[in-house]
């Protein structure tokens, strides 16, 4: 589904290429496809309509700048309008603060609370956590277990029923902590008692930040819920969770627009380390199911195309283990491999299914194994003999079989990329790839 949407989007962009003046019909078609892509990414319907109206008006009214063609002109406007939505800053300062977590049931507040505690802890802050979820059975056990793992004190009482009392006591008990995170019970906007409770919690904690946790899969409800939470306690940051699934997180975009705040963190994984600061470009790429829009945008700005993965070298056949390492590293940030491969500007190339079958745990293992390699081995995997394999395996605490498997995977990737190069007719460089992707010829 998403594939066909992004194809339609690319087609629409293609139609704008080579036009001397901005063609109303072509812009309309682009806007229509953009609307469909955004709607299926769960962005709020009204927001989509406003956005597309702004893009249409600007594309038609603004003069095309010198040295850019119509397509680039429109693309820049699309990019700017999208970025405007998510670029509101939500700073995370390393100073004493109280953070109140808010959100719907099952959005991942408790897991995120522990992840944030870990984040501040790693930055060298003294962190404490209060469990104010007195409703859901096992909530305290869950938070306490997670906190024990990272040695963060967790205040709470599984038998208590009064969240306000617990929080009051907790604030006293862990007042020596620099960062205090208050995890709360899941609630939604139509439960007046619970909304009152969080207003009271906000008052007694005098929270520095009130962060709203949003499930990436949340649909059109996101706007309404965010608005009500914002009215109640003044949300100043949004956290998107469960970005390791296939959901696009468009609901979070609506929430940000509604609360006029920014996206603070993204949660993508079940372990306590899986929390990242928000990256607008990756997010938008995912939203539209399109390649790196920023790279294209920057080209328009005549800036250097920067890419984490050295595409040019890869295309020339110099795909080393180093490149693969970078790929794996980038992977966590962007979502499942299949999606990323779709994002990479490779046109409609089909990768063998085996490439996708590498699970996230394996990815981590592969990286550890590569950490155990010498620079020479990374640059030229051909030299890895069986004695080298032994050494690598020992260094990484694994087995030579694992190293063999990694090399097999590498070879598969290598072969695939070489095949791609063949299809392009030899001289396949980044520029041409980009062109092919966006249809500039």
């Amino acid at each position: 589904m998403m594939d066909s949407l992004s194809d339609a989007l690319k087609d629409a962009l293609k139609k704008l290429a080579g036009k001397a003046v901005v063609d109303r019909a072509a812009v309309d078609e682009l806007v229509k496809n953009l609307q469909r892509a955004l709607l299926s990414a769960d962005v709020n319907v009204k927001l989509v309509m406003e956005l597309s109206k702004a893009i249409r008006t600007r594309s038609l009214d603004e003069d095309v700048p010198k040295n850019t063609n119509v397509r680039e002109h429109v693309l820049r406007i699309v990019y700017q309008e999208l970025v405007r939505l998510v670029y509101a800053t939500a700073d995370v300062k390393l100073e004493p603060q109280v953070i109140l977590m808010a959100g719907l049931q099952g959005s991942g507040k408790t897991t995120t609370t522990a992840k944030i505690a870990r984040y501040f802890q790693k930055k060298g802050m003294k962190v404490g956590v209060i469990c104010a979820d007195t409703f859901r059975p096992g909530a305290y056990d869950q938070l306490a277990t997670l906190c024990t793992k990272i040695n963060v004190p967790c205040f709470g009482d599984p038998k208590a029923t009064d969240a306000l009392k617990i929080v009051k006591e907790g604030l006293v008990a862990i007042k020596d902590r620099e960062v205090i995170i208050v995890d709360t019970q899941g609630r939604h906007a139509l439960e007046p008692d619970l909304i009152q409770e969080i207003i009271d919690l906000n008052a007694i904690t005098k929270a520095t930040h009130r962060w709203l946790v949003i499930d990436a899969a949340l649909g059109q409800q996101a706007s309404e819920q965010a608005r009500r939470f914002h009215e109640a306690i003044g949300i100043d940051g949004v956290i998107i969770t469960k970005m390791d699934g296939t959901a696009k997180g468009g609901g979070a975009l609506s929430a940000v627009a509604e609360t006029k705040s920014g996206i603070v963190f993204i949660g993508a994984g079940e372990t306590i380390e899986n929390l990242e600061r928000f990256d607008a470009n990756g997010f938008i790429s995912r939203l539209l199911g399109m390649g790196d829009l920023q790279a294209l945008y920057e080209k328009v700005q005549e800036a250097q195309v920067s890419s984490e993965v050295d595409m040019e070298a890869m295309m020339k056949g110099h795909f080393t283990l180093r490149d693969m390492y970078k790929q794996l590293e980038a992977l966590n940030k962007m979502g499942p491999l299949k999606q990323i491969m779709n994002m990479l500007p490779m046109g409609n190339m089909q990768l063998p299914e085996g490439v996708y079958d590498v699970t996230s745990t394996k990815m981590v293992r592969y990286r550890i194994l590569m950490d155990s390699m010498t620079p020479q081995e990374l640059d030229d995997p051909g030299i890895i003999s069986s004695s080298r394999m032994q050494r690598i395996a020992r260094g990484a605490g694994g087995t030579p079989e694992e190293v063999r498997e990694l090399l097999k995977y590498y070879k598969m990737m290598h072969k695939t990329l070489k095949g791609l190069r063949g299809a392009g007719g030899g001289k396949f460089n980044m520029q041409r790839l980009m062109k092919r992707f966006s249809g500039m010829q």
Partner: protein
């Protein structure tokens, strides 16, 4: 519940009715001016336009002989576009909304309407049949249990945070109230606090829980649960599992192992009513990898739109079993498509 969707659907119904009505109006005034045909026989040309299906001659013939009007594509296209937006705003996923609209269009365009018959009835019929087609026939769990060999084993699956554990507790309470004996398997051995959570629920409800330590193999826990049920002649086994994303191949194969080991009679896929377009993607993936026999939709109380019900049901074509509508144990209602559709369309027709 679903009141948002109801209001929207009713507005859409009015619009559709109005545009069909307007088209009919347009064709009528001509009638008196037509000297050759005495009485009220109308002349269609004015309204016919570029409708594709029935030819002009057909239309006139039908109008004169059968005294009926034909609904043309043009009459309804604008209103249907608005209806599509309505569906999207109600969280019906894009591909599903497209399919529904096509269905409703097919149900309306080319339909003959008696001049006396109300436009409203026609529109309601099309909407109703489209919705019913999607929502299926519902699922009577007590009847299913009665007609199958005990213990009936029910496995709950779904992504993280949709409310599987709470749903297991609620269904346990529901079945107990219906007079069945129930045992719960604490198959979520991964999430911290999950075993405690289901344990507290079960204690409150007076239901036996079979549990292992955190981190244990869920297949083993659930196997033991089934063994317990067989030994104690328990009617129903409710198997909770850890939430997992359909993109994690290892976790999905773990679920597959659970299925092989405990051989469930029913696999119930749990998702939340507030989920957007992703509901379709993951429901399809779960259905493909481990299968799904029925659906439970949770958190329907925070959602006044209910689009996810339509999306998921349309995607995997399985009946909805229950709706979760709140935090208390009794906040669960068996899903009856007929009643829901009637409610959505304001009980008309």
């Amino acid at each position: 519940m679903f009141s948002g969707l109801r209001e929207r659907l009713q507005a859409a119904r009015d619009r559709l009715g109005a545009s069909i009505g307007a088209a009919a109006e347009a064709s009528r005034p001509v009638a008196p001016a037509e000297p050759a045909s005495p009485g009220k026989t109308g002349d269609a040309p004015q309204a016919a336009g570029p409708a594709k299906n029935p030819t002009l001659a057909d239309k006139v013939k039908i109008l004169i002989i059968d005294r009926e009007l034909v609904v043309s594509e043009k009459d309804v296209s604008e209103a249907l576009e608005e209806l599509e937006m309505t569906l999207l705003e109600s969280d019906v996923a894009l591909p599903v909304a497209d399919a529904l609209i096509a269905d409703i269009r097919a149900g309306l365009v080319g339909k003959h309407r008696k001049i006396g018959e109300s436009v409203d009835a026609l529109v309601v019929r099309a909407l109703k049949s489209a919705l019913l087609k999607v929502l299926g026939s519902g699922f009577d769990l007590p009847a299913y249990i009665k007609s199958h060999e005990r213990p009936v084993k029910i496995l709950f699956t779904g992504v993280n945070g949709t409310g599987k554990t709470t749903t297991v507790a609620k269904i346990g309470a529901y079945l107990k109230a219906q007079g069945f004996s129930v045992v719960i398997g604490a198959g979520d051995t991964y999430r911290a606090g999950a075993i405690e959570q289901i344990g507290v629920h079960a204690e409150r409800l007076g239901i036996k829980v079979i549990e292992h330590k955190a981190g244990a193999d869920p297949s083993a826990v659930l196997f033991d649960t089934v063994q317990y049920a067989q030994a104690h002649k328990t009617d129903v086994v409710l198997a909770d599992t850890a939430g997992r994303f359909h993109t994690k191949a290892n976790l999905m194969s773990q679920l597959d192992k659970i299925r092989r080991v405990m051989k469930p009679d029913l696999i119930v896929y749990v998702d939340e009513a507030v989920a957007g377009n992703d509901a379709v993607v993951r429901a399809a993936e779960f259905d493909r990898t481990v299968g799904a026999d029925a659906i439970v939709l949770t958190k329907a109380d925070m959602d006044s739109r209910g689009g996810a019900a339509i999306s998921i049901a349309h995607t995997i074509g399985k009946p909805l079993l229950f709706l979760g509508t709140g935090q208390a144990y009794e906040d669960i209602i068996p899903f009856e498509p007929g009643a829901i559709v009637d409610e959505l369309l304001g009980g008309a027709a």
